[in-house]
Point group: C2
Chain length 301, copies 2
């Protein structure tokens, strides 16, 4: 049996009771280790908590070498641990498809992921549109396909969750070119860097998906003991030091309800200013005023 | 301290290890009992598992009588249990706001909810638009505000998660009028009933958000041992018996990727027909072909 086990967001104890039982009966345990990290738990702490050794699975192992993970899973139990939920921000449907092809039964243990726990900031999950990813800009590579998605969400009044890039076990171009297996230290995009990239791309565009004054919520270390929320405009959050990773950002949509707003006010430096920013931002993408057309048939009468 | 504890989707053991620890140290435990149910656990089983008595909290108690729940939470620990995540489909921000007003510290234990666990059907959470709720139609009350939301999602190619109505502890009009505290048996909307309501409203509309041939995924008992997925058109699923509750439905968007489609094919009665239905549905809301406008300045030259 292959167990896909969501670990939740922060500590070793955020696993479910049922998930923990499954892990404890496995002969091999892998931890997906390239799309997210468990904020308050090291590999050693996980191993102690499970009473088992845990193998870190990098992108190569999962994407090209499912074989290693699935080996013998017909006759013994193997666990594949995923931070958050196994079908959260990064889905592992490929691994499941391969297991199915080999007639290996699969059981999933769901858990919280950023995709639903984000509701803790007080915004309703119902009012979110599509989620986007923000990757680190490089000298020559500054992808902005997320821009049109934010625009589409904002046009219909919806909030946008922006997931920020994580680089774990990344090689420098030089080391990659020379075939040296030397990895760079992990990098996690900060809220301020994300906001700077938002502002940079905004400047280039003619149709405005947002402005520097668009209200946002900065979310840091969601689900951990040091979780923090900060509400402010993109411009303000470009100068906000959110501390340790992981960070996410929510760009508000104009459908922001009064109860949502009330909740956010606790996270503002200046409540009155934030209220004004929200009111001003609501004017963007406002539907055209409805013109009551005269009925041509009535005119004829 | 007020603990908001997500219970996950199905069994008593779907609570997190950290959440369970918190519940065990509480002097009072309430279970939110009007927006969802834990599919494979009774109140008695929860009480045995926690070693505590659990009070069922209905809508009246939560919405009008937070007092009862928050009483003494300054000096003792009180748990408020929510099926799924405390900020999932139904948020309990109001309870948190009231606790804050009374200077009662709040701690949240997140868990899986339908809003993220739905990824188990193979569709990417990134490709979902706003979630909608489908309520039971009555003789005189057939609300369809969800229609425009599905339309907005489908116009930009996104999937729509449809959450189906649950009626727990509902009074008949007669009993309500006469002030008799007699409650109807619980009712859970089925996938077939949801599809019938979709078809009924579709018939009335001139701008089509979907057609009877639009592909969907029926999701039943998500996260439980009898979880099931069925892919088919709205018309087909209107005749599908999905068995015991809880049910949800996903209406596909045209952005359905090949890997998503491959995963869904396992849930079809007729794979070739479903592929054709998806291909046909992709023609709806297709962007207009791009006309390259001649540059007027160039013409002038």
């Amino acid at each position: 049996m292959l167990y896909l086990v969501g670990l939740g967001l922060s500590s070793v104890e955020d696993i479910t009771v049922s998930g923990l039982k499954a892990v404890k009966q496995c002969s091999r345990v892998y931890l997906e280790h390239y799309t997210s990290i468990l904020m308050s738990a090291s590999q050693a702490e996980l191993e102690e908590f499970y009473g088992k050794s845990v193998t870190l699975a990098d992108r190569e192992m999962v994407e090209s070498g499912c074989e290693e993970i699935l080996r013998g899973a017909n006759s013994e139990d193997v666990a594949f641990l995923v931070v958050g939920d196994p079908f959260g921000a990064t889905t592992h449907t490929d691994l499941v498809l391969r297991a199915k092809q080999q007639n290996i039964p699969v059981k999933v243990f769901h858990n919280a992921s950023v995709m639903n726990a984000i509701g803790a900031c007080g915004l309703q999950l119902y009012n979110f549109g599509q989620t986007v990813s923000m990757v680190f800009f490089h000298e020559t590579w500054r992808p902005d396909s997320w821009y049109d998605k934010i625009l589409a969400n904002r046009k219909i009044g919806l909030h946008t969750l922006v997931l920020l890039d994580i680089k774990v076990k990344e090689q420098s171009y030089e080391n990659m070119a020379r075939g040296r297996l030397i990895y760079e230290p992990p990098r996690y995009m900060s809220i301020s860097q994300c906001c700077e990239q938002l502002l940079e791309v905004d400047e280039k565009k003619s149709i405005k998906a947002y402005t520097p004054d668009t209200p946002c919520v900065a979310v840091s270390r969601l689900g951990s003991p040091t979780e923090a929320f900060k509400a402010g405009t993109i411009q303000e959050l470009a100068n906000y030091d959110a501390g340790e990773p992981l960070h996410s950002l929510i760009i508000l949509g104009s459908q922001c309800h009064e109860l949502e707003l009330e909740y956010l006010l606790d996270f503002c430096d200046d409540r009155e200013k934030f209220k004004k920013d929200v009111a001003k931002d609501r004017e963007y993408f406002k539907p055209e005023p409805v013109m009551i057309e005269e009925d041509p048939e009535e005119e004829e009468e």
